[in-house]
Structures are given as structure tokens and as C-alpha cells.
Subunit: 190 residues, 2 copies
Amino acid sequence: MPRASVREQIVDAAFEQFHRHGYNACGVKLITDSAGVPKGSFYNHFESKEALALVVMDRYGETRHLEKLQTPKTAPLTRLRHHFDALAQDIVDFGYERGCVYGNFSTEAADHIPAIREGVKTAFDLWGNAIAAVIREAQDAGDVTNTQSPETLARFLLNSWEGAIVGERAAKDGSSFAAFFTVAFEVVLH
Amino acid sequence: MPRASVREQIVDAAFEQFHRHGYNACGVKLITDSAGVPKGSFYNHFESKEALALVVMDRYGETRHLEKLQTPKTAPLTRLRHHFDALAQDIVDFGYERGCVYGNFSTEAADHIPAIREGVKTAFDLWGNAIAAVIREAQDAGDVTNTQSPETLARFLLNSWEGAIVGERAAKDGSSFAAFFTVAFEVVLH
């Protein structure tokens, strides 16, 4: 098996370290040390920590279980449920730590770094649109009688999910995830 | 007017700087520089940055408009609406920046600093209990027919609010707050 390129080693390490420590507490040296490459090699591959963070956000997007929203022959609300179940399981597997890279970057870096803010906004928009499409299907099928627009409901649910993560990082007891699943699926998507 | 004590100057500066920069990007020197006091004076008053952060969280709690939840002669849902309206106005006044100190600390520091995690958990519990009490009143008055427990609804709404802030820091267009108010008050608290 060919050895991963230095660039790939840096991206893999950054994915792990940004997720674990957040944006501000994760410096280039932590990333290159974790990748096992010389710090000097970093700037051969990336212009800045910020540029690497954008690559990590794209990579993170590929792990957000969006494919579960499009499983064939599955009812829309079941797909939505499987999507959030998978997101929840990822967080539980990390002992309620690390959170969501998008939410972390929004909280830590969006105020000060325009490219990060734009990256998070784009990620949330794509994710929100994917959720809205499923909610529209559920409304068309009569599974959701709530007549609020799919876009509003999707934005609300996406944000509520991000907030449930914020709650769990403090409480670590599953209560915020439980409240999310109960209210999202039994009340909001009624 | 007596000059504020050095301790007070440090707490005031820390309140501002923690809110503006978050926990990790705000060091002791930034705080003492902002307070206009020598860095060396810090440790006469606080054991650590962490200890100061706990004081700031208490101070922040006093600004969270909890009194609006208890305005006399006002319907429960109106009080709840005024509470979130005031929280939203604070964020809009900062141009959708800075976020919520609790959410910021939960995201940035809860994983690594047990006392911060415990502080955020306590703050969320107190806030959630205050919201739950109002929802219980609204249910008893027949203003909310949703039969989910007040505790579950309160936890969900609190988290959804925190998530709406995460969304606004990326989008800065009011869409997440609008979705929150619409779905929270027209759907969840139906």
C-alpha cells in the first residue's frame, strides 16, 4: 500500500486535532506533530491554518451521514430519523465530547475569520436544503401535517441539533438528545 | 465616585474579552491589558483564568433576562416570548457576533476543564428550570395543549436557542432567529 502523501497525513491529523481541540487551541505545530511531519512542510501544502480548516470542513461534510437522507424505498421521516440517529451515535461514541466541527468553527472562529464563517454558512445551507427536501416529501405524503415551510422547519431542526450538542457537552447524560428526538419527531414533525 | 477595585476592573474586562474572543483565545494578559492593570496583579485576586471564568459566568447569568420570565400580570407565553426577544436583541446589537457565554464555554472548554463544564451545566439547569416553570403555567392555563413534560420542552427550547445562535454566527441574516420564533411559539408551544 502506498504511503499517504504528506498532504494527506496533514489533513488526517488536522481533522482529528481540530475536532478534539477546536480551532483556536489547535495550532499548526500540534497538527504537524500529530501528523509526524516537520512543521516546515506545512506551508508547502497549505497557505495557512485557515486554508487547512476549510479542507477539513469539506472532509467533515463527507462524514455527516447525508446519504441516509436518500436511502431508497424508505419513508421520508424514517430517513430523517436515521440521519439524526447516526449523528447522535457519533457523538455518543466520543463520550459526548468534540461536538460538531461546523458548530465549533461557527462558535470559535466565524466572528473573526470571514472564510471560516462563509464555509460554515455554506455547509449549514447544503445540510439544511437536504433536510428540507425530505420534509417536503413527508408533507407531500401527508406524513407531516405541519404547514410551516420545509426550509423553516429544516433550519430550525438543524439549529436545534447543534444546540442539543452544546447541551450534551455540558451535561453528558443524553437528556438533550432525548429532548431533541422527542420534540423534533413527535411535535415539530407532527 | 470611588474607583472600581482592581478585582472589579479585572472581572469587567474579562466579561467583555471572554465574550468577544471565547475562552481559549482570551489569555490572562489580554484581560489585564484590557483592564489597565498589571498582569502580576491578576493572581492576587484569582487563582487561575478558569476561576475567573466561573465568576464571569455568574455575572453573565445576571444579564440573561430571567426576570422577564416572572413579570407579574403577564400571560406565561408572553413572558417567555419577551425573554427570548430580549436575548435575541442582545445578539442583534452585537451584529450577530459574540454568541452566548454559556454556549461558547460549553463548546470550547467543557471537554477539557471539569469546573467549566460543571458551571455551564448548572447554568443551563437553572435556566431550563425557569423556562419549565413558565411552560407548566401555560399548560395549566390551557395556553399550551402539547402534553410533553415542561422539563423536556424547556430543555429542547433552551438548546434550540443556543443552536439558533450558532446558526446566526455563520449566516448573520436573522433567518435562524426567525425560524426559532416561528417554530418554538407556533408549533412547539401550540
